[in-house]
Amino acid sequence: MLSFSFERHTLDNGLTVILAPDRAVPVVALNLWYGVGSRNERPGRTGFAHLFEHMMFQGSAHVPKNRHFELVEGAGGSLNATTWFDRTNYFETLPSHHLDLALWLESDRMGWLLPAMTQEKLDNQRDVVLNERRERYENQPYGDWDERLQRMVFPEDHPYHHTVIGSAEDIAAADLDDVAEFFQVYYAPNNAVLTLTGDLDPALALDRVREYFGEIPRGDQVPPIPGRLDPGERIGGTVRETVRARIPLPRVYLGSRVPPFTVDDFYAADVATSVLSDGRASRLYERLVRERGIAKDVVSYAFPLATGRSFMISWITGYPESDPAELETALAAELEGLTDVSDGEVERALALAETRFLRQVAQLATRADMFSMSEQLLGDAGRLNTEMERLRAVTPAQVRDFAERCLGADNRAVLTYLPEEEA
């Protein structure tokens, strides 16, 4: 049985520290999760958690602009950060003899970011983020699908009603006061999990972490997530939207509310999506792509989200001549049809999940992220050591039950994209 040893510590200022040595290669991965994401944003400032993440790379009191990247790349490391609904993570993987550098940089921006903030830097990164929005969403076929689908799946007062990238207007409206306030409220050691995996000695590493992070003061308790966090188990009907856009092929998205990542029921949702679309013997591929030939591609996925409910999406891309109603009916029928899932289908899904999981944890950076995620969202850093057992415990009856509760017409958002009429 796969098992990764680790230590968990809490510093006096509330910073949670996970240390998971693996000395196979002389590389160390640092992963820092802050318990803040787009779910914490207030109305009028959607997209701010992500814009703020960009500002974290603009230098801090002892690190000039561009220096953060220069130092890590110059040390032979790779680095980045991502913002999501429930969290923001910062990470670097570098040769292990540069561990101190990573700790110095991360602690400097956790403790001393604000003295380095300027209007010029904010203006610059606002432009960068607006271009990120154009590149990934506005100038892409189907690029606004998540914005539209989230609005249909979650009510206006739920934090998942809006996307992580946020609206262009809100991004443009952000100012330096927003940066200072957000930093003071959310970027405190007591709202963060720091994980180190790889070539390290836990006792020495803990000393180092204390030295660099120990003096950063504890912040106030993080305010509650705005909005009504429990939107109810189901959407309460079938909601629809049809979009005509410049797209190559018609596509239908189906979205549903599903149990959150934080409860065991989520595993059934995860297995259900594998049965549906993981691999070429999956239901959707085998039946809709291969057998009936009505789909060019199919996808089904349950987001691992923690706040109240999560959501599952499936999509079917048709061919130029496809009837969108047929696409929708076919996809919906397969989702509902999971109520007859067989033992063999679940076994196949679990076998694929196991290989995928082993591939993921083989990478130090991914393993570090999983530790942080488990600690931050589940309060159980060691979850990855029992992850496969929990997945294997999912029975076909649970998948059937999940399909019955969550995949019916009373819990469905249908988003249809049709190619623009030719002029």
Binding site: G74, P95, D123, R134, E211, K296, T317, A351, A362
Partner: protein, 465 residues
């Protein structure tokens, strides 16, 4: 704020500790009597085995008027064997937890898989069955062709892919395979007959020039034995093909505007034909490119992104292939700043070629590339992919083992010399996929060259001077 050790934080970045060396296990090569090459690398700590079969069946081996044939054949390879149909094959593999992927590039078709070590034999049995007895059923040919035609349609509407495809079309003459899209064009894919797919497979999916690659907790002898046992009945030779010529640089810079009405961004490509893959000058190209546009702190990115906010990011890179490579700078910028971004990109590009990198930049880029090298060799699938490159490009077995040393040996002078002998900013093509109504007049005013306007569907809409 008081600090127990303020000097430490104020004194700048901490000194590194003692280096622990990174050792890559040796790659062991063994050739079967008929030429099949077995490459293995032993990593005892990995519970997975990753492997691939590299076939000398890249898209460059497809006939000139059948662009996309290699890609199509690769897609249908797992479409059924003499004893199992496509669904049964997929079921057998996926029950083992294995996804068998077939990917076709310009230089090879590669079947790759990752499996739990104790399921390797069962996996290889299915892989061998596919190699020995794939039947390319008519229904699968038609289904996959339809999927491929739809995918070509999707590529044309993705602005980044459209710009990259149009750059290749611009740089390579119509007789050269790189002129067309990797997966062919609508007309060529429509023209492919099932008999041509079968014949292509018969001629190209042969062991004599193929590689069998395996990484995991297996000794080299075990890997060789597995190859012998499972692939015993896979025989035959690939046919020989005429050599493909190297493409030359154009006399005058091509400037192409691909019209996407109303686009909020312009996808910009600046590029030229580059060197084929070889060891010669490779370290200089890698380090030199990291400084120009191959890292976050590159000159291009610090200018276009961190100084001007024109873009989410800009990259440059050498795509290195068997027959002529490609150098390109790529970025997506807000439509309104397209000309300013082009000017800044050319400013950096020209200045860099004229004066070369400075010593600090070279040190930084060398340390970056040498340091991240182990991160690209971390997992079994990554290692298998790196070894596949050894086979495809005929690189020495110690290629990766010496990589960091070669990187550390480059100098400002050697980079300046090698890049200067290859890159020419004045003959680089410029391709922009964006709103021609907004861009055409200012682009002409920029004076980079005669502007050819193409429509997004590939036709030439007109040339202006």
């Amino acid at each position: 704020m008081s600090s127990p050790d303020p000097l430490r934080r104020h004194a700048g970045p901490p000194e590194p500790g003692a280096i622990r060396p990174f050792h890559l296990p040796p790659v062991v090569s063994h050739s079967r009597g008929d030429g099949l090459r077995v490459l293995s690398l032993t990593r005892p700590e990995i519970p997975l085995a990753s492997g691939c079969i590299v076939l000398d069946a890249g898209e460059t081996t497809a006939p000139a008027d059948r662009g996309g044939l290699a890609v199509l054949a690769g897609d249908i390879l797992t479409g059924g064997t003499e004893s199992r149909n496509a669904a049964e094959l997929a079921e057998a593999l996926e029950r083992l937890g294995v996804s068998l992927r077939v990917s076709t590039g310009w230089d090879a078709t590669t079947m790759s898989f990752t499996t739990l070590a104790d399921r390797l034999d069962d996996t290889l049995e299915v892989v061998a069955e596919v190699l020995e007895s794939a039947v390319f059923p008519e229904a699968e040919v038609e289904r996959v062709r339809r999927q491929r035609l739809a995918a070509i349609r999707q590529r044309r509407m993705d602005p980044g892919q459209l710009a990259s495809d149009e750059l290749n079309r611009t740089l390579f003459s119509p007789e050269h395979p790189y002129h067309r899209g990797l997966s062919g064009e609508t007309e060529s894919v429509e023209a492919i007959q099932r008999s041509e797919v079968v014949s292509f497979a018969h001629r190209r999916y042969r062991p004599d020039r193929a590689g069998f690659i395996l990484v995991g907790d297996l000794a080299a002898e075990q890997v060789q034995e597995a190859a012998e046992r499972h692939l015993e009945r896979w025989t035959g030779q690939v046919d020989t093909l005429p050599e493909i010529s190297e493409e030359k640089l154009p006399e005058a810079r091509p400037v192409v505007l691909v019209h996407r009405p109303g686009a909020v961004q312009s996808e910009i490509r600046i590029g030229q034909v580059g060197p084929a893959r070889s060891l010669e000058g490779e370290a200089e190209l890698d380090v030199g490119n990291a400084v120009l546009g191959g890292s976050f702190t590159s000159r291009l990115n610090l200018n276009l992104r961190e100084k001007h906010g024109f873009t989410y990011g800009v990259r440059s890179g050498f795509a290195r292939r068997r027959h002529s490579g490609l150098f390109s700078i790529g970025t997506a910028v807000q439509t309104e700043v397209t000309m300013a971004a082009l000017q800044e990109a050319f400013f950096e590009f020209r200045r860099y070629l004229a004066h070369g990198p400075d010593a600090d930049e070279v040190r930084q880029a060398r340390d970056y590339l040498a340091g991240v090298f182990p991160l690209r060799m971390e997992t079994a699938p990554q290692l298998a992919a790196r070894m596949a490159e050894l086979h495809i490009f005929g690189l020495p077995l110690e290629y990766h083992h010496g990589y960091r040393e070669r990187i550390r040996a480059v100098t400002t002078e050697s980079i300046h010399r090698v890049l200067g002998s290859i890159l020419d900013p004045e003959r680089c093509a410029v391709v922009i996929a964006g709103d021609a109504d907004e861009l055409q007049a200012p682009l002409e005013a920029l004076g980079l060259g005669e502007v050819e306007v193409r429509s997004g569907d590939g036709a030439t809409a007109g040339v202006s001077s």
